[in-house]
Symmetry: C2
Subunit: 253 residues, 2 copies
DNA sequence: ATAAATTTGTTCGTATGTATA
DNA sequence: CTATACATACGAACAAATTTA
């Protein structure tokens, strides 16, 4: 196997290895040839081999482990989770706990809350003024002791300040919808904006995933009749999480 | 500014530049210092500077353009689109056309259809046997002449073969729901699995985005009462597309 | 339990090609 | 046309993690 000119060598090598993975010649958890072996195979320098492997890593097709090698990543995420439509079925309780329990795993989370001033972005999402006081809570969600999701939520203190739910995790009731029900505000709908990017170092460390793996970022905002009452940034590894939902099509008229 | 030992230099530089972007010192579309300038600033070699920039590119924070420089990417995607809940509001017509028109842009698409045999993955999703005949159609969707979305769809010929909708784009009716209505099959719901990863070379080229940018991949399957009738892989640049939807919370009982 | 070998991670220097200003 | 800036690619060395002997 050798490279022809015209297309960068590292892309040709990435193409070749990608085909082998996609066509099944290299299967999940298989070890790829070592970098020196690939240098020999393709007759290129180490930097070219590493660039090719970096391409495949960014595509989520392989993982590299120092001292061990590069391995084909399972194409189907091992723990497939469902977000979204669960709200309709079980509005009570925390969606995370419900989904995790349903998958036969033990849900846990820890968190840190503190009062702070709303940034411009957060103020926009909550319909308040920049600098207004908000309660900021950072969550780390674990399934069977493995961190799978990060979340940072913001609630305007103009709404929750002085109430029994000012501290998000101090009561016995979990889940945003039941919590707001406690102060007489029933959440009517949720909006979510989903985007994808590579994990930032802090996220990679906290989620215990290799650097640069793709993550899904969900901007979620809870509303009571067009009034935002809570907004959160949620980060999940796309290797362990699939955002899955079901949409009903109305009957033909 | 210099680097201390203990943490890789390229990560320290990425951290520093990331802070400047996130804190607003470097704003959207601002040009970052050139690679030689960064080499001077931090006292490192070119390879380290490039690794740092590659980290930020994978995170979607910057774009690099050969011959021009590296630029801060707009944090809020410029054309925010909505998928999903539109099905409930306007089941008629193509969702893409509806969304694009609603955003004041002109929708267009081209495509290629061919009969082929179902791969194992596609057969699984369609509930048929591997090797069964399917109609495969690759779409390229454009908004105002700019490619924004790729889609590859598969329909079992056991269902559509010999009917008026065997060729997905030969009739006058667009959109999967209305098309299947034409042969008396009313689609009852849609399932979507969303994941994120870096664009593959073919996708980057077709979508006219720089290599390695994060994309969202949506696996969408249409059902008629638990019978899959169409499945598609949809790829969108997360720079230009946000998957957005709204979930209703039922009233308190 | 240790040492050696293997494998990826980080970093330097250097050179040439290609796109843009 | 020239200078600038990023893209690709060679060679080399040492560090860190893991596996093997």
């Amino acid at each position: 196997m050798s490279v022809f000119s015209g297309r960068p060598a590292y892309l040709q090598i990435a193409d070749d290895l990608r085909s082998q993975i996609l066509e099944g010649a290299l299967q999940a958890d298989d070890k790829l040839p070592s970098e020196p072996a690939l240098m020999d195979d393709y007759g290129v320098s180490r930097i070219v081999v590493r660039q090719a492997l970096d391409v495949l890593r960014a595509e989520g097709l392989i993982v590299k482990q120092q001292g061990r090698g590069s391995f084909v990543r399972a194409l189907v995420p091992p723990t497939k989770r469902v977000l979204g439509h669960l709200y309709n079925e079980r509005p009570e309780g925390s969606p995370f706990a419900a989904v995790t329990s349903a998958g036969g795993q033990r849900p846990e989370w820890d968190y840190q809350s503190r009062k702070t001033a709303a940034s411009k972005v957060i103020a926009d999402r909550l319909g308040i003024a920049p600098g207004d006081p908000v309660m900021r809570t950072s969550y780390r969600f674990l399934a069977d002791d493995e961190p799978v999701m990060l979340s940072t939520s913001f609630e305007p203190l103009a709404i929750t300040g002085g109430t029994s739910i000012e501290q998000p995790e101090s009561g016995t009731v979990t889940g945003v919808v039941p919590r707001f029900d406690q102060i007489g505000l029933h959440i009517t709908h949720v909006k979510e904006d989903v985007n994808g990017r590579a994990a930032r170092p802090y996220e990679a460390e906290t989620l215990q995933v290799p650097q640069g793996v793709p993550v899904l970022v969900i901007e979620r905002t809870y509303y009571v009749e067009d009034q935002p009452v809570e907004t959160a940034d949620i980060v999940v590894s796309s290797a362990r999480y699939v955002l899955s939902y079901r949409l009903e099509i109305p009957p033909r008229t």
